[in-house]
C-alpha cells in the first residue's frame, strides 16, 4: 500500500472532458492519484486512456475540467510546463528519436535540466563541458539500471521493439520525474521481458518514491503491480478503487472483463 505521509494527492483529474470533431473521447472524468502510488488505467481500446495521458502532458487541450498537480490547478497543461514540473512520459508506439543513438535519446530527456547557453555550447566553455559530462554520467547510470549499456552507441531505430520500449522508459526516468505516465510499457514483450520491466517499474516506485500512472492491458500484471485501478469505458469512468475491489466489481466484469475473466483468475 502507498504511504500516506502527505495529505495532498499527487494528481487530481476533475470533471475533464475532451472531444475530437464533436465525438466525445472523455466525458466528465474525475479521479485522483495519491503520492507514490502506482495507478493503472484500464479499459478497452478507444476508452480514452491515451487521450487522458495526452491531456496530462499537455498534448491535448481538454474542453472543460481541470487538472490539479501537486496542489496547483491547471485549466490546461503545456507540454513544456508538464515536463518542467516533473511529469515524465512513455508512449504507446515508441516515440523515440529514431535518428539518434540510445545514449543521445536518454540525454535528450535531460533537456529540462540544461542551463548552458548556445554560445557556451558552440565554444565548449566550461559550463557546457561540465553539463555535458554530468548528463553523460547520468544517462549511463540510467542505462545501467535498464541493462542497456551495450546499446549506448546504437541508433535507436535499429533496435528491436522490446529494447526500444526500455529505452523509452529510461529516457523518461533520466529526467528524474515526480510523476511518470506510461502508455502500455509492456506491450509487445515476451513473458520474461514483461517480468523484468514490471520489476523495474516496481523498483522505481519503491526506491525512487515515484508516482506512476500506467495504461496496461495485461490484467494479471496490472493486478499485481498497481495500488489503484481506474477503469474507463467510452470515455467514462466505470470503476475506481484498489485492484482487489476492481477484480470483484460486477460492473467491470460485465462491461469490460467479460470473457477475459478466466485470465484474471489464472
Amino acid at each position: 500500500m502507498p504511504m500516506r505521509e502527505d495529505p495532498l494527492p499527487a494528481l487530481e483529474v476533475r470533471n475533464v472532458s475532451l472531444s475530437f470533431k464533436g465525438v466525445k473521447a472523455i466525458s466528465d472524468l474525475t479521479f485522483q492519484v495519491e503520492r507514490q502510488e502506482i495507478c493503472a488505467l484500464i479499459g478497452p481500446n478507444g476508452a480514452g486512456k491515451s487521450s487522458l495521458l495526452n491531456i496530462l502532458n499537455g498534448v491535448y487541450v481538454p474542453d472543460s475540467g481541470e487538472i490539479v498537480f501537486e496542489g496547483e490547478h491547471f485549466r490546461r497543461m503545456h507540454p513544456l510546463e508538464a515536463a518542467r514540473r516533473g511529469i515524465g512520459r512513455g508512449f504507446q508506439n515508441n516515440a523515440l528519436f529514431s535518428g539518434m543513438s540510445v545514449l543521445d535519446n536518454v540525454i535528450a530527456g535531460l533537456s529540462r535540466h540544461s542551463r548552458a547557453t548556445l554560445v557556451e555550447e558552440a565554444f565548449r566553455l566550461p559550463r557546457a563541458r561540465g553539463e555535458e559530462r554530468r548528463f553523460r554520467e547520468r544517462a549511463h547510470e540510467v542505462l545501467r539500471l535498464f541493462d542497456l549499456e551495450r546499446h549506448a552507441a546504437t541508433l535507436v531505430g535499429t533496435l528491436p521493439y522490446g529494447v526500444q520500449k526500455k529505452v523509452e522508459i529510461a529516457r523518461a526516468i533520466a529526467a528524474e520525474p515526480r510523476l511518470l505516465l506510461l502508455d502500455e510499457p509492456l506491450a509487445g514483450m515476451n513473458a520474461a521481458e514483461k517480468q523484468e520491466i514490471a520489476a523495474v517499474i516496481a523498483r522505481l516506485n519503491t526506491e525512487l518514491k515515484l508516482t506512476i500512472v500506467l495504461i496496461e492491458h495485461d490484467i494479471g500484471i496490472v493486478l499485481k503491480l498497481a495500488h489503484h485501478v481506474v477503469v474507463l469505458d467510452y470515455g467514462r469512468k466505470l470503476a475506481d478503487g484498489p485492484p482487489e475491489a476492481i477484480r470483484d466489481d460486477p460492473d467491470v466484469i460485465a462491461a469490460y472483463l467479460g470473457s477475459e475473466h478466466a485470465e484474471i483468475a489464472a
Binding site: L80, G99, A108, A122, A153
Partner: protein, 355 residues
C-alpha cells in the same frame, strides 16, 4: 575541415594514429592548395565550393538537424551580404571580421523572425514563411537605394576590398585563406553545437516533435535557435559569396535558384550530417563542370548547342532523381562515411507528415 573529420571518425580507437596522420596530411594539402592549383581552380571552383559548403552547413542545421524545411536560404545569405556592405560602408572603423560577425547576427535575427511561424505551422506549410522571406528581401534590397547606397546598378561591393586587421586579402590566395579560415571555424562551432544538448534538442524535434515537447525539450526555443544559428551561418556565407567570390553582388546572386541549390547540396550530401554539406557542395559545383567538359569533348560541334545545353539540364535532373532513389541519405552514406552501425533511417519520420 580535415581536423574535424579526424575527430568525427575517431570513434574506433585502434585507428586513431593512422587517421591523425591522414588528417595532418589533408590539413597540409588544404593549406598548400593555393600553391598547387591554378588561379582558375582557386577562384572559380575551390572558393565557391567552400562558400557553398558553408551555406549548406547552415541550412543543414535547420533542415537536416532540426527538421524545418526552408526554401529561403538565399534570402538569409542576401541579408548577410547586404548587412556586411552596410557595415563596411557606414561603420568604416569596424574591422571586416567583426563586420562579418555582426552581419551574421543581423541575418540570424532576421532568420529568427521568419522562424516564428514555425512555432505554429508544420511541414510544407512552413515553406510559405521562408519563401516570403525570399521574395520580400529580393524586393526590399532592390527597392530602397539605402541598402545599396544609391548605386545606379543596384549592386553592392566593398569599395575598400577585403582585409584582415590590416592584412590585404584582395588576391586569390587572400580570398582563399579568408574563406578557409571562416569556413573551418564555423564548421568547428557547428560541430560542437550538434553534439551538445542544443543539437540533441534539434534532432529530437526533427525525429518526433510531440514526444520532444513532452519529455521537456523546449520546442519553441530550440526551433528559433535553429533558425537563428542557421541564418547566422547563411548570412556569413552570403557575405563571402558576395565579396570573397563574386566581388560584387546583387539580389539576383541570392535568388530562388540559389535557395534550391543549397537545398540540393544538403539532400545530395546527406541531411543531418556536417560532412554532407561538403560532399553535396562538391557534387553540385563539380557536376555541371564535368558534364560540360564531357559534352564538349564527346559531342562538340556535332549536336545543336541549344539541344546539348538542355540535355545537360535534363541529365542533371535525372541524376538528382536517381540519387534520391538510390541513396536517400546522400553521398555521406554512399562514400561509407557514416557510422557503421547507423542503420538506414527515414528522413523526417514525423515532422513533415501532415494531413
Amino acid at each position: 575541415m580535415s581536423e574535424i573529420d579526424v575527430r568525427a571518425a575517431a570513434e574506433p580507437l585502434d585507428s586513431i594514429g593512422l587517421k591523425a596522420v591522414a588528417g595532418a596530411a589533408a590539413a597540409a594539402l588544404v593549406l598548400a592548395a593555393p600553391f598547387l592549383a591554378s588561379e582558375y581552380w582557386i577562384n572559380a571552383i575551390i572558393v565557391p565550393f567552400l562558400i557553398l559548403s558553408l551555406a549548406g552547413l547552415g541550412l543543414n542545421l535547420l533542415t537536416g538537424y532540426a527538421g524545418q524545411i526552408s526554401l529561403g536560404a538565399g534570402a538569409f545569405m542576401m541579408v548577410g551580404a547586404y548587412a556586411t556592405f552596410s557595415l563596411q560602408l557606414r561603420v568604416p572603423d569596424l574591422p571586416l571580421p567583426l563586420a562579418l560577425v555582426v552581419a551574421g547576427i543581423v541575418a540570424g535575427a532576421v532568420g529568427l523572425a521568419f522562424g516564428i511561424p514555425s512555432t505554429r505551422i508544420k511541414g510544407f506549410y512552413l515553406i510559405v514563411s521562408t519563401l516570403a522571406a525570399q521574395f520580400f528581401f529580393e524586393w526590399l534590397f532592390l527597392k530602397f537605394p539605402w541598402f545599396y547606397n544609391g548605386n545606379s546598378s543596384a549592386t553592392i561591393s566593398l569599395s575598400r576590398g577585403l582585409s584582415f586587421f590590416g592584412l590585404d586579402l584582395n588576391h586569390p590566395h587572400g580570398r582563399y585563406y579568408l574563406t578557409l579560415g571562416i569556413v573551418t571555424l564555423l564548421t568547428l562551432l557547428s560541430f560542437n553545437l550538434v553534439r551538445s544538448q542544443t543539437g540533441r534538442n534539434w534532432m529530437a524535434i526533427r525525429d518526433m516533435d510531440t514526444a520532444a515537447a513532452v519529455i521537456g525539450v523546449p520546442i519553441v526555443r530550440a526551433k528559433l535557435q535553429a533558425f537563428a544559428v542557421s541564418s547566422f551561418i547563411l548570412g556569413i556565407a552570403g557575405a563571402l559569396w558576395a565579396f570573397a567570390y563574386l566581388g560584387s553582388a546583387s539580389v539576383q546572386s541570392f535568388g530562388l535558384t540559389r535557395s534550391y541549390q543549397i537545398l540540393f547540396i544538403i539532400i545530395i550530401g546527406g541531411l543531418g550530417t556536417i560532412r554532407g554539406a561538403y560532399l553535396g557542395a562538391a557534387f553540385v559545383s563539380l557536376l555541371p563542370l564535368a558534364l560540360d567538359w564531357l559534352f564538349q569533348y564527346v559531342f562538340s560541334g556535332r549536336v545543336d548547342a541549344g539541344l546539348l545545353q538542355n540535355i545537360q539540364k535534363a541529365i542533371f535532373g535525372i541524376l538528382i532523381v536517381w540519387f534520391l532513389i538510390k541513396e536517400p541519405e546522400g553521398l555521406s552514406r554512399l562514400l561509407g562515411l557514416r557510422r557503421a552501425n547507423g542503420g538506414r533511417r527515414s528522413l523526417f519520420p514525423s515532422s513533415l507528415k501532415e494531413n
